[in-house]
C-alpha cells in the first residue's frame, strides 16, 4: 500500500531521517516506537507529505506522492491522520467538525455527510455531543472525535501520531479501545506511540527507530521477548522497568 524508498529528511543541517526503507501492506498494523527525537513522527508525517522528504520516494497505491505532478490533496483524502493534540476545529460543533471535509470537497451531500457523521458518533457513544463545541469536551472525547472525523473521509489507511500522549491517564483507554476496534475491522494503520501494551496486542509489525534509522523491524512477540538489536534491548530495558 505504501512503499517507502530511501527516504531522507533534513531540517537545516540536522538529518532527521537517514535512508529509510520499508513497506506498509494492506491490513498491516505497524507500530513505530523509539526514543524522542528518533524521527518516528517525521517518518509518519512524510507518509502524507505533511513533511516533504529531502530525497527518496513514497509510493501510495502505485502513485509516487513525492512527485510534484501528483495531486497530494486528492491522495490525502484517502489517508486519515490523527494528531497528538487532536486539532479539532474549535469554531465548529462536533457535527460540523466531522462533516466539513466530505461536504466542502463535494464528496457527500450535506444529508449524506450528516447521516454518516451521526452513525460514527453513535459508534463511539458521543451522539449527545453533536451540537457541542470542542472546548466542552474531555481530551479522550476530543481524540475519539478526531478519529471519526478522519474516518468520515472513508480512508484506506490511518496514520496516528502519538494519539494518547497528550491525554490524562484515565482517558487513554477509551482512545486505544477505539483504535483496537478499527484494527479489528481491518483498517490499515501506522501508529507512533509509547503505549507498549497496544503495540503488543494490536501490531503485526514493530518498527524500532533511533537516530533517524529503522534499527529493528520485527513481529511484536519477538521484539518484546527477544529483541535483536542492542539499542532495542537497551530501550526496552529502560521503559519496561520494574521498581
Amino acid at each position: 500500500m505504501i512503499e517507502i524508498k530511501n527516504i531522507k529528511k533534513s531540517f537545516g543541517k540536522n538529518e532527521v531521517l537517514k535512508n529509510i526503507n520499508t513497506e506498509i501492506k494492506k491490513g498491516d498494523k505497524v507500530v513505530i516506537i523509539g526514543p524522542s527525537g528518533s524521527g518516528k513522527s517525521t517518518l509518519l508525517r512524510c507518509m502524507n507529505l505533511l513533511e516533504t522528504p529531502t530525497s527518496g520516494s513514497i509510493v501510495f497505491q502505485g502513485t509516487d506522492i513525492t512527485d510534484k505532478k501528483s495531486d497530494i490533496n486528492k491522495i490525502r483524502q484517502r489517508m486519515g491522520m490523527v494528531f497528538q493534540h487532536f486539532n479539532l476545529f474549535p469554531h465548529l460543533t462536533v457535527l460540523e467538525n466531522i462533516m466539513l471535509a466530505p461536504v466542502k470537497l463535494n464528496l457527500q451531500t450535506k444529508e449524506e455527510a450528516e447521516e454518516n457523521a451521526l452513525r460514527l458518533l453513535e459508534r463511539i457513544g458521543l451522539s449527545d455531543k453533536k451540537y457541542e463545541y470542542p472546548a466542552m469536551l474531555s481530551g479522550g472525547q476530543k481524540q475519539r472525535i478526531a478519529i471519526v472525523r478522519s474516518l468520515s473521509m472513508k480512508p484506506e489507511i490511518m496514520l496516528f501520531d502519538e494519539p494518547t500522549s497528550a491525554l490524562d491517564p484515565e482517558m487513554i483507554g477509551e482512545v486505544l479501545k477505539l483504535m483496537k476496534d478499527l484494527a479489528e475491522d481491518g483498517m490499515t494503520m501506522v501508529v507512533v506511540t509509547h503505549e507498549m501494551g497496544f503495540a503488543k496486542s494490536v501490531a503485526n509489525r514493530i518498527l524500532f527507530m533511533d537516530e533517524g534509522k529503522i534499527l529493528e523491524e520485527n513481529n511484536p512477540q519477538d521484539f518484546f521477548l527477544n529483541p535483536v538489536h542492542e539499542r532495542s534491548k537497551e530501550f526496552l530495558s529502560k521503559i519496561l522497568y520494574n521498581i
Partner: protein, 232 residues
C-alpha cells in the same frame, strides 16, 4: 435675552436658518459613505497583503510581491493621511473630478496598510495544527484558509479591527482639505457663517460620538456571536 432664548437662538442659527441642517445631513452622509467604502477597500487590500505575507515564506514566487507589499505598508504608515489625500487629489488623480471617489481611494489604501498587519497577526495567531488538520483531510490551501483559518483569525482580531474602523471613520474628518463637504467641513462652514463656534463644533463632535458608539455596539455583538464556541 435670557440664557434659554440665547440657546434657542443659537440652535436656530446653526440648524434652521438657510436650511443648514441639510448641510449637516449631507456632511454625515458623505462621511459615512467615504468611511464605509474605504473600510471595504481596506479589508480587501489588507487581506490580500496578509495572504501574500503569510504565504511568501513557503512560496518563492511571491518574493517580489512580498517586497512590494512591505514597501507599500512602510510608505503608507510612514506618512500622514492628509498628505496622502492632497497628493492623491492634486497630483495622482488630478484629472478625476469626483473628489469623494479620490477620498475613498485614499482612505481605503491607507486603511489597507493597517488592516494588513492586523490580519497577518490574526492568521499567524491560529495554531499551526489547524492547517495540518485541514490538509490531512485533503482540503487544499485555499479551502483550509476559508473554512478553518479565517473564521478563527477573525475572532482573534475583531477588537483590533474594530479599533481600526473607528479610527478610520474619525480620520475621514480631514477630507475637507480637498473639495468635499464631510461632517467636519459642514460644521466648519456653518461656524464661519454664524460666527458662533459652540453649536456647530459640539454638534459635529456629538455626531461622530454617536456613530462610533453605534460601531462599537455592532462590534460587541459580533464578538459575542463569534465567541459562542468558547463557553465551557
Amino acid at each position: 435675552m435670557t440664557k434659554l432664548e440665547n440657546f434657542i437662538n443659537s440652535f436656530n442659527k446653526t440648524f434652521i436658518v438657510e436650511g443648514r441642517y441639510k448641510l449637516f445631513a449631507s456632511g454625515i452622509s458623505n462621511t459615512i459613505f467615504i468611511a464605509f467604502f474605504a473600510t471595504l477597500m481596506g479589508i480587501a487590500i489588507g487581506l490580500f497583503i496578509a495572504l501574500v505575507k503569510t504565504n511568501a515564506k513557503n512560496n518563492r514566487k511571491l518574493f517580489v510581491l512580498d517586497k512590494i507589499c512591505s514597501l507599500y505598508v512602510t510608505i503608507i504608515r510612514g506618512t500622514p493621511v492628509v498628505v496622502q489625500l492632497l497628493i492623491m487629489y492634486y497630483v495622482i488623480f488630478v484629472n478625476i473630478d469626483n473628489s469623494i471617489l479620490v477620498a475613498i481611494l485614499t482612505f481605503g489604501i491607507n486603511s489597507g496598510a493597517y488592516v494588513s498587519e492586523i490580519a497577518r497577526a490574526g492568521i499567524e495567531s491560529v495554531d499551526k495544527g489547524q492547517i495540518e488538520a485541514g490538509m490531512s483531510l485533503g482540503l487544499d490551501r485555499k479551502k483550509t484558509m476559508i473554512y478553518i483559518i479565517f473564521p478563527q483569525a477573525l475572532k482573534n482580531i475583531l477588537p483590533a479591527l474594530g479599533n481600526e474602523f473607528i479610527a478610520l471613520l474619525k480620520e475621514t474628518s480631514v477630507a475637507g482639505y480637498v473639495p468635499i463637504i464631510d461632517l467636519t467641513k459642514a460644521g466648519d462652514i456653518v461656524r464661519s457663517r454664524t460666527w458662533e463656534p459652540f453649536f456647530p463644533l459640539y454638534s459635529v463632535a456629538l455626531f461622530y460620538l454617536v456613530m462610533v458608539v453605534g460601531l462599537t455596539a455592532v462590534q460587541k455583538r459580533l464578538e459575542r456571536r463569534l465567541s459562542e464556541s468558547d463557553r465551557n
